[in-house]
C-alpha cells in the first residue's frame, strides 16, 4: 500500500477527527471542463488521430508526390516538388505555420488568435494566387523517366513517390493491383496509388468539417439567440422555420441542392452548414430562454447596451457550452455527409475524397476490391469516431451533474 493510500485509510478511521480536505484551487466551469476534457483518454485518442489527419492535409505534397523533393541534374540541385506547389498548397503551409506560432503566443485570447489567423489567410490567399504559377501540364512520369535514363545524379524522393492524380501511364499493368511493397494500400482502377489519394483527401475531410460547422454555428447562434431573447412571435416563427429544415431529411436536401447547383466543394460546405444549424439554434434558444431573466442580462438592457452587445458579448459566453458539444458532433456528421455524397457520385470529380474512393470498391463489373473499401472506409470511420470521442468527453466535462454541483 502506498503512503498516500495509507494516509487516506487512516483519515477515515473512526474516532479520529477527519482532516479537512485541502480546498481545490478555484477553477471556473470552463477551465475545469477544458482540463477534464483534455485529461480523458477519449480526447487524447481523438486528438492524436485528428493531428495525424491535419499533418497529412498540410504536408500532403511533401508526403505523396510524383515529383521528387530534390534532384541533382547536370550538377545543379533543384526541387521539382516545390516548383509544382499550387497556390492552395502554399496557403495551407503558410497558414499552418503561422497557426502554430500564434497558438504558442499565450498573451492573446483564443478569439484574437482566430482573428489574426483569418487576417493572415485573407492576405496570403490573393498573394499566393498572384505569384505562384506551377506548370500547367503535369507530366508525372517525367522524373521517373529521367531516373531510368540515368540522367539524374541524385534523387531524394517523397515517402510515397506517387501523386494522387498520377495514373501511372508508364505502368499500365499496375491498375487494380492489391497492396504490395511498392503500393502499400494498392492501386485503384484508374492506376492511382490509394495511399497517396488518401493522404491528399485529408484536406477535404478537414476543410469540410470545420468550415461547414462554422457556418452552422454562426447561423444557429444568431437565429437561436434572437428566438430565445425576443420570445413571442419571433420564437414561434423561428421554431416553425427550424421544423421545416429538420423535417426534410438532410441528405435529400443536400442531393437536391447538389442536383440544382452543381458539384462544388465550397457550395457543399455552405449547404451542409445551411442545413445543419437547427440543433445549434435549439440549444442556444433554450439557454437564452433561461438567461434572459437573469440579473446580468437585465443590467445590460438597463445600461442601454446595443442588442449586438447583449446577445453576443454578454449572453453568449454563458450559454455557449451545449453548442460547443454539438459543434464537435457536427464536424463528424459533416464529414459523413461529404463522404456519403461523394460515394453516391454527387461529390467532387477531380479531387480525391475518401467517399469517392470507397465508391470504386464495388466496381461496375461486379468485382469487389477490398483495399478500395477497407482503407478509405477506415479513414472516414476513424476521423468521424475521433470527433465523436472528443464530443462525448466534452459533453461529460460540461455536464454539471457529473461534478455534483447541482
Amino acid at each position: 500500500m502506498t503512503n498516500a493510500a495509507m494516509a487516506g485509510s487512516l483519515a477515515a478511521m473512526p474516532g479520529e477527527a477527519p482532516r479537512p480536505e485541502p480546498a481545490p484551487s478555484p477553477r471556473g466551469l470552463a477551465r475545469r471542463a477544458v482540463d477534464d476534457t483534455l485529461a480523458s483518454w477519449r480526447t487524447k485518442t481523438g486528438l492524436a488521430w485528428i493531428a495525424i489527419v491535419a499533418f497529412c492535409a498540410v504536408f500532403a505534397p511533401f508526403l505523396a508526390n510524383s515529383y521528387p523533393l530534390a534532384v541533382k541534374m547536370n550538377g545543379n540541385w533543384s526541387s521539382p516538388a516545390i516548383k509544382h506547389l499550387t497556390p492552395v498548397d502554399w496557403t495551407l503551409l503558410v497558414v499552418a505555420f503561422c497557426g502554430v506560432i500564434t497558438l504558442g503566443l499565450s498573451r492573446l485570447t483564443f478569439f484574437r488568435k482566430l482573428l489574426v489567423l483569418l487576417l493572415i489567410l485573407a492576405v496570403e490567399l490573393p498573394l499566393a494566387f498572384l505569384f505562384v504559377h506551377p506548370p500547367i501540364v503535369d507530366v508525372f512520369q517525367e522524373y521517373r523517366d529521367l531516373q531510368r535514363q540515368g540522367r539524374l545524379q541524385a534523387v531524394i524522393g517523397c515517402p510515397i513517390p506517387y501523386s494522387p492524380t498520377d495514373r501511372l501511364r508508364d505502368h499500365p499493368d499496375a491498375r487494380l493491383t492489391p497492396p504490395s511493397r511498392e503500393h502499400l494500400f494498392g492501386v485503384d482502377m484508374n492506376g492511382s496509388d490509394v495511399l497517396s489519394a488518401m493522404i491528399h483527401a485529408c484536406r477535404i475531410a478537414m476543410a469540410i468539417g470545420f468550415i461547414s460547422t462554422g457556418i452552422a454555428v454562426v447561423i444557429g447562434v444568431v437565429i437561436g439567440g434572437l428566438m430565445g431573447y425576443f420570445v413571442g412571435w419571433v420564437d414561434l416563427f423561428g421554431m416553425r422555420f427550424i421544423e421545416v429544415f429538420e423535417a426534410i431529411p438532410t441528405l435529400i436536401l443536400l442531393i437536391t441542392f447538389v442536383a440544382f447547383f452543381g458539384h462544388n466543394l465550397y457550395l457543399m460546405m455552405a449547404i451542409i452548414g445551411l442545413t445543419g444549424w437547427t440543433g445549434n439554434a435549439r440549444f442556444i434558444r433554450a439557454e437564452y430562454l433561461r438567461l434572459r431573466n437573469q440579473d446580468f442580462v437585465q443590467a445590460t438592457i438597463a445600461a442601454g447596451l446595443p442588442l449586438r452587445s447583449i446577445l453576443f458579448r454578454h449572453m453568449l459566453p454563458n450559454g455557449v457550452s451545449p453548442v460547443i458539444v454539438s459543434a464537435t458532433f457536427g464536424i463528424a456528421s459533416a464529414i459523413l455527409f461529404e463522404s456519403t455524397l461523394s460515394f453516391l457520385g454527387l461529390g467532387l470529380i477531380d479531387e480525391p475524397s475518401w467517399g469517392q474512393m470507397l465508391n470504386q470498391a464495388a466496381g461496375v463489373s461486379g468485382t469487389f476490391t477490398w483495399w478500395m473499401a477497407v482503407f478509405p472506409g477506415l479513414g472516414i470511420f476513424l476521423t468521424v469516431f475521433a470527433y465523436n470521442l472528443i464530443g462525448e468527453a466534452l459533453r461529460d466535462a460540461l455536464d454539471p451533474r457529473l461534478h455534483g454541483i447541482e
Partner: protein, 357 residues
C-alpha cells in the same frame, strides 16, 4: 391535451408551406431558374421537342411570371386541394383533386407513378427496421445500465460510439463485398428485393420434387437481411446510448429509493419502475430517428440496388432530372413532416407531464 393536438395540427400547415418554399426556392435560385433545362439543352433539341418542353414548363410554372406567381402556380399543381385545371389551361373550380407532381423529362413518365412504385418500398424498409432498432436498443441500454461502471458497460459504451460513427456506406460495401460477392462468401443476394424467378414462385416456402423452393416471401426476406442490418445499426447505437443514460438518470431519483426501501426486488425496480420512465426520451428522439432513417435509406438503397425513393432521387440527381429531384424532395419532406407530427403526438400521449402551453 386535445387543445395541444389541435394546436399542433394547425402548426402543421405553416411548416408544410415552409417546406414547399424551401424546395421551390432551391430550384428558383439555382443557376438558370425554373426553366434551366430548356436553356441547358437549347442547342441539341429539335424544335418540336423544344416546343413541347417549353409548353410543359409554361403550363407548370408560367415562365414569364414573376417568381412568387410561379411558386403559387406550382403549389396549386402539387397540392391535393386547389383549383382544377381545364383542358385549355384556364382555372377551374376549387376542390380536392389529384396532386400533379409533373413529368420526368428524362424517363418520360408522370412522377406520381414513379413515387407510387418507390415510396412503399422505402416505407417497408423503415417499418421493418424501426421495431428491430427499438427492441435491441432497449435491451442493450438496460443491460449497460445494470452493469454501470463495470467493464461490460464501459466496453459497450465505446462499441456503441464506434457503431454510431461507422459509415453506413462502408458497412454496406463490406457486407456486399465479403458476404454477397462471388469472390468471397456468396451467402446473400447482391441486388434488388426479389430474385429474377420470383414471379413464378409460390407465396410460401415449399419442398418440390425439383428441390427446395424458397417462395416469394422468404426470397424477399433473404434479400432484405443485409439492407435492414445496415440500416439498423447506426440508429440502434444512438438509441442504446440514450436508453442507458435515461436509465441511469432515473435510478438516481427518489422514487427508486422508495421502491427499494419498500423491499422490492432489484429486477422489479428496474423493469417496472425505472424502465417505464426511461422510455420517454426514446419516444422524443423518434422525431430525429425518422428523417435519419429516410436519409440512411438513400445510401442503403443505392448500394443494394433497391428501387425505393432514395435510389430514385440519387439516380435523378445523377441524370440531371430536375423535375424528379424536386418532386422527390417534396414527397420525402412531406413524409418527414408527417412523421414529425406523429412522433410529437405520441410523445404527448406517452408523457402526461408535458406542458401544453
Amino acid at each position: 391535451m386535445t387543445t395541444y393536438i389541435i394546436r399542433r395540427l394547425l402548426l402543421f400547415i405553416p411548416v408544410l408551406l415552409g417546406m414547399t418554399i424551401v424546395v421551390f426556392a432551391t430550384v428558383a435560385l439555382s443557376p438558370g431558374g425554373t426553366g434551366a433545362s430548356l436553356l441547358a439543352r437549347e442547342g441539341g433539341m429539335d424544335p418540336r421537342a423544344r416546343k413541347a418542353i417549353e409548353a410543359y414548363y409554361n403550363k407548370r410554372y408560367g415562365l414569364k411570371d414573376p417568381l412568387p406567381v410561379q411558386y403559387f402556380r406550382w403549389l396549386n399543381e402539387v397540392s391535393p386541394i386547389g383549383f382544377h385545371q381545364n383542358e385549355d389551361g384556364s382555372r377551374g373550380r376549387f376542390g380536392i383533386k389529384m396532386p400533379d407532381l409533373g413529368e420526368s423529362l428524362v424517363r418520360h413518365r408522370p412522377i406520381i407513378d414513379l413515387v407510387k412504385e418507390c415510396l412503399p418500398i422505402t416505407v417497408l424498409l423503415n417499418v421493418i427496421t424501426i421495431p428491430i432498432i427499438y427492441v435491441i436498443a432497449i435491451v442493450a441500454g438496460i443491460r449497460a445500465a445494470q452493469k454501470r461502471g463495470k467493464f461490460a458497460d464501459i466496453g459497450m459504451g465505446s462499441v456503441l460510439l464506434g457503431l454510431w460513427s461507422f459509415p453506413q456506406m462502408l458497412a454496406g460495401v463490406l457486407a456486399i463485398g465479403f458476404l454477397a460477392s462471388r469472390q468471397y462468401a456468396k451467402l446473400f443476394p447482391t441486388n434488388g428485393l426479389h430474385d429474377l424467378r420470383s414471379g413464378s414462385m409460390p407465396f410460401l416456402p415449399a419442398f418440390t420434387p425439383v428441390g427446395f423452393n424458397p417462395g416469394w416471401m422468404l426470397d424477399m426476406g433473404w434479400h432484405l437481411v443485409l439492407p435492414v442490418l445496415c440500416l439498423c445499426y447506426v440508429s440502434f447505437a444512438f438509441l442504446a446510448k440514450l436508453e442507458r443514460g435515461a436509465m441511469l438518470e432515473n435510478i438516481a431519483l427518489d422514487y427508486v429509493r422508495t421502491a427499494r426501501a419498500k423491499g422490492l426486488p432489484e429486477r422489479t425496480v428496474l423493469l417496472r419502475h425505472v424502465f417505464r420512465n426511461s422510455l420517454i426520451p426514446l419516444i422524443t428522439v423518434a422525431v430525429n430517428i425518422l428523417p435519419a432513417l429516410l436519409g440512411g435509406a438513400v445510401v442503403i438503397e443505392s448500394i443494394f440496388g433497391i428501387d425505393g425513393m432514395g435510389k430514385l432521387t440519387v439516380d435523378a440527381a445523377l441524370m440531371h432530372d430536375r423535375e424528379l429531384v424536386l418532386s422527390d424532395a417534396l414527397v420525402l419532406g412531406f413524409v418527414g413532416i408527417v412523421a414529425y407530427l406523429v412522433a410529437d403526438i405520441a410523445y404527448v400521449l406517452a408523457d402526461p407531464r408535458v406542458s401544453y402551453d
